[in-house]
């Protein structure tokens, strides 16, 4: 077997599996999808968008029967790429709310 044959064989073995995996891994680093221009800023905290936090505030006000003016989101974090957990204070009582990125409140419960 010539050296050329050896390289060709190696390449063929790699192409279906390892080479594609290597290409994919490289792409994750170098080919990161650009966000729309209006979303090209963020903070490392990755808090929930303001509208989703306030949807949770409405849900907590309804569930707790606390005046909505006394309900405020105080913290939030991403649970997964599609949903967020929002912590809220309702007249001093703490609640957790899960909301998805379509604005659907999935759950509300006391902390």
């Amino acid at each position: 077997m010539t050296r050329y044959d050896h390289v060709s064989r190696l390449a063929c073995e790699l192409v279906p599996g390892k080479l594609l995996a290597l290409l994919a891994a490289g792409c994750m680093v170098a080919c990161q999808t650009a966000p729309p221009p209006d979303q090209m800023a963020r903070t490392t905290l990755q808090t929930a968008p303001a509208d989703l936090q306030l949807l949770c505030a409405n849900a907590v006000a309804t569930a707790s029967k606390v005046d909505s003016s006394k309900v405020l989101p105080v913290s939030s974090s991403a649970l997964d790429p599609q949903s967020f957990n929002v912590e809220l204070s309702a007249s001093g009582r703490k609640f957790n709310c899960v909301v998805d990125n379509k604005g659907v409140v999935k759950s509300v419960h006391p902390a």
């Binding site: 090209m40 800023a41 903070t43 905290l45 808090t47 509208d51 989703l52 306030l54 949807l55 405020l72």
Partner: protein, 229 residues
């Protein structure tokens, strides 16, 4: 120009003396801050940290802010009435609610570490080219601030910029304001003493759209203080 003295506010520019004295402290705070603003670099296709130095360089190079911090209409799902102001201190956006599930989004600068606050307040009054009155401690330590102890008249050098919305809790002035700035590159950063700063074009636009009494909801994870709840 009509001049009137206002209560000292949490807002304002650091004078050169104060700036020199606190530069190291601010640098340390910026380094230790938990939340770091990042912008997406289209050339490297990576998220990169956006601190005061990089923000100033970006502004000098482009003569404008990164696109995300420029004024724009965005979808906003809410039950709040049109005319309500929603401030997302962590993401550095101010939303003015519009009809039809939309909002006008503006970029803002907010309180640095330890100076952030959250709550529900109202626009108590507004002013064009507002007077800036330095706080007493700044007057005491800084001769440049001392000469404005009775209030610095509004104008292009005034740190409050072109307009100010004074935030009230009930009938009381919170000492916090939404105002313009003479440092537009600081939009997108945690730099103030608790006030919400916008570039002058944006605060003029917001001022023209906001009514006295408008509700203001301030969201800030890790707030050092809560108002109005």
């Amino acid at each position: 120009m009509k001049r009137f003295v206002t209560p000292s506010s949490a807002c304002g520019k650091q004078t050169p003396v104060a700036f020199a004295a606190t530069l190291l402290v601010l640098t340390a705070l910026a380094t230790e801050a938990i939340a770091q603003t990042q912008i997406f670099d289209p050339k490297t296709r990576e998220w990169v940290d956006y601190d005061k130095t990089k923000a100033r360089q970006y502004y000098a190079r482009n003569k404008q802010l990164p696109e995300a911090f420029r004024r724009q209409i965005v979808p906003f799902r809410t039950a709040e009435d049109p005319g309500t102001i929603i401030i997302d201190g962590n993401q550095h956006f101010l939303y003015l609610i519009q009809d039809g599930g939309q909002a006008i989004r503006y970029g803002i600068g907010v309180g640095r570490d330890g100076f952030g606050w959250a709550g529900k307040v109202r626009v108590g009054r507004t002013a064009e080219w507002p007077t800036w009155t330095p706080p007493a401690e700044m007057v005491a330590r800084d001769p440049n601030a001392a000469k404005w102890a009775a209030g610095m008249p509004g104008g292009p050098d005034n740190p409050l910029g072109a307009r100010a919305l004074y935030l009230y809790e009930g009938g009381n002035d919170t000492i916090y304001r939404i105002h313009g700035t003479i440092e537009p590159w600081t939009i997108g950063l945690d730099v103030s003493s608790g006030c919400i700063r916008m570039n002058n074009d944006d605060i003029i636009d917001l001022y023209s759209r906001v009514a006295i009494g408008a509700k203001v909801i301030v969201l800030m994870q890790g707030a050092a203080l809560y108002k109005g709840i």
